[in-house]
């Protein structure tokens, strides 16, 4: 990561002129390298410590054994089945929560009477830990797929509804005046003012909701499920396969990370006016 390591762009190029640029590049590269080096370094230390017997491998098995176990689970198909089961529930639950969350949030944001009637109810039930609802949901929806999907949906619904309502209600009144002065129809006020004005807030709600959905699906799958990453982790505890537990955690972390990237990219597409801000 030094200047020496970089080849000159062209033989005989003026070195003085390129110096400021060169100074910038390595530091940015350094940051990226550090971002990769830190976890890799930690894994290495962990591996060495496990092999040297410095840490208890019953709780912290060596990374190499975790990755080995991952290979085993992948070959047996168990990993894919469980990952797919969780993703599927997450996906369906997301839409089941998103659609009513958006609809209710918009109605609450646009119409004061709706807000007055529903805000206390929604805000009041929001702080209830969603995981504490699981027994009730299991009672109502049974042990099969519906209860898992409903748990995800609840997790998505609340942040989306509340953030959408706040976003729509907080669009500055001057924009509605402009729309009215320039003859916008009701539909256009909705489409051109209310929704784009609230979009950043809506996207925040969706990000929060997906994060919550991921937590809730893992919890829901630990109780009475026969598939899913939550089930895999719980089952690993019962058969005392610590490596499998770590594999489950790792996959969930990777899913969470990839979903955040995906939502970030979708958000950037939906709010192009915020780019580079």
């Amino acid at each position: 990561m030094t200047q020496v390591a970089r080849k000159p762009a062209a033989p005989g190029a003026e070195p003085v002129a390129t110096r400021p640029v060169r100074r910038l590049l390595p530091s940015r590269r350094l940051e990226r390298t550090l971002a990769v080096l830190t976890p890799v370094g930690l894994l290495l230390i962990w591996e060495l410590a496990a092999r040297a017997g410095a840490i208890d491998t019953r709780f912290f098995p060596a990374p190499s054994s975790i990755f080995h176990q991952m290979g085993v689970l992948a070959q047996s198909g168990e990993l894919w089945t469980n990952t797919w089961a969780s993703l599927r529930r997450l996906f369906i639950g997301f839409w089941v929560g998103l659609v009513p969350g958006l609809a209710l949030g918009i109605a609450m944001g646009l119409y004061r009477p709706v807000r007055a009637a529903l805000q206390p109810l929604v805000s009041g039930t929001y702080p209830i830990p969603k995981s504490a609802l699981l027994p009730l949901i299991l009672l109502i929806f049974g042990l099969d797929e519906p209860s898992k999907i409903v748990m995800v949906a609840i997790g998505v619904f609340y942040p989306v509804a509340l953030n959408t309502a706040a976003g729509v209600a907080n669009v500055s009144p001057i924009y509605y005046d402009v729309a009215s002065n320039f003859g916008a129809s009701r539909w256009n006020v909705f489409r051109k003012v209310a929704i784009p004005g609230a979009m950043p807030s809506i996207l925040t709600g969706i990000e929060l909701g997906v994060g919550l959905g991921l937590i809730l699906i893992a919890i829901a799958e630990m109780v009475g499920a026969q598939s899913g990453l939550g089930y895999m982790i719980w089952n690993a505890w019962q058969v005392y396969s610590v490596e499998t537990m770590y594999v489950g955690l790792l996959v969930i972390a990777v899913i969470g990370y990839l979903l955040a990237l995906l939502l970030g990219a979708i958000g950037a597409r939906l709010t192009p006016w915020r780019n580079g801000k």
């Binding site: 005046d177 402009v178 051109k192 003012v193 004005g197 006016w273 580079g276």
Partner: protein, 295 residues
């Protein structure tokens, strides 16, 4: 577009100065006994008190007055964004399918989520004007306001002066019968202000639409106006009318050289002086009632 509360229209006749000496058939906007009251925490604030005013077609009318005297309220009633408590606003629509009025709002009012082009095209798009026509009109006014190169930019990438230009382009492109402008340049520095005043006059000279322009700058008023209405402090009333006889097109800078320019500025300041100090005393006496929904 007619706002008619049906009250007091016949019984009130405005003071002689309020009515222009032009052909009365050419009156574009006729305001009679216009009053607006707001309820602010149980007490009633009279923002505008029985105002009479005739604005001839094609006149550039500038309204000056101390802040809080009801200028914005008057403009919002002309735009039918607010309804009068009593009195009437009658607008004689002369346009064939063109909108009654377009407003350049006080403060930032262009949509942050639309490009400069889409902002300027907003009114035309909302009215369903054919695309080719929109392209021509928006292109024209973006060029006139020096924004052609920024058509695809978003407002946060622009300076305050450029954002005000977008707001002006949006209003002009909409081709309204009346232009309502609420302190469009008040947030700008002196150089930008002068630049935009010159730009505005240049654009206005193309069409000579009826304009109602609000400002708290006396210089701006004299620079732009055919006629100036000086308003009294709360409750807002017409205190004086001053004609500005300078010929058009005007040179914003050369104008200030003229002896008459100084005379008119001085004249307006005389009218304003007592009003400004009166409004300051009011503000000092009742600091809590000044809270408002908007800037």
């Amino acid at each position: 577009m007619t706002v008619d509360e049906g009250r007091d229209v016949a019984s009130t006749t405005g003071p002689a100065a309020a009515v222009s000496d032009k052909d009365p058939a050419d009156v574009h906007i006729s305001i009679r006994g216009l009053t607006k009251q707001f309820d602010v925490r149980g007490s009633t604030v009279t923002a505008l008190d029985s105002l009479d005013l005739d604005i001839p077609r094609g006149q550039f009318l500038v309204i000056v007055g101390p802040s809080g005297c009801g200028k914005t309220t008057l403009l919002r009633m002309l735009a039918a964004l607010e309804s009068p408590t009593s009195g009437a606003v009658e607008v004689r629509h002369g346009g064939e399918g063109r909108p009654g009025n377009s407003m350049v709002f006080q403060g930032d009012s262009i949509f942050p989520w639309m490009s400069v082009w889409d902002n300027a095209a907003f009114g035309l798009t909302m009215r369903g004007v054919p695309r080719a026509e929109i392209r021509e009109s928006v292109g024209h006014y973006l060029e006139k306001t020096g924004l052609s190169a920024f058509a695809d930019a978003y407002p946060h990438q622009l300076s305050g002066g450029m954002r005000q230009r977008v707001s002006i382009a949006r209003a002009f492109a909409n081709d309204p019968d009346v232009l309502l402008m609420d302190e469009p340049f008040s947030a700008l520095d002196e150089q930008n202000k002068t630049l935009l005043q010159a730009e505005l006059l240049r654009i206005w000279d193309e069409t000579r639409k009826t304009v109602v322009f609000i400002t708290h700058s006396v210089d701006e008023a004299v620079t732009l106006a055919d006629r100036i209405m000086v308003m009294s402090a709360q409750p807002g009333q017409a205190k004086a009318f001053v004609d500005v006889p300078f010929e058009r097109p005007r040179d914003v800078l050369e104008l200030r050289h003229l002896e008459e320019y100084g005379d008119i500025v001085y004249d307006i300041w005389q009218h304003l002086r007592d009003e400004v100090s009166r409004s300051q005393r009011q503000a000092a006496a009742a600091p809590a009632t000044g809270r408002r929904r908007r800037r």
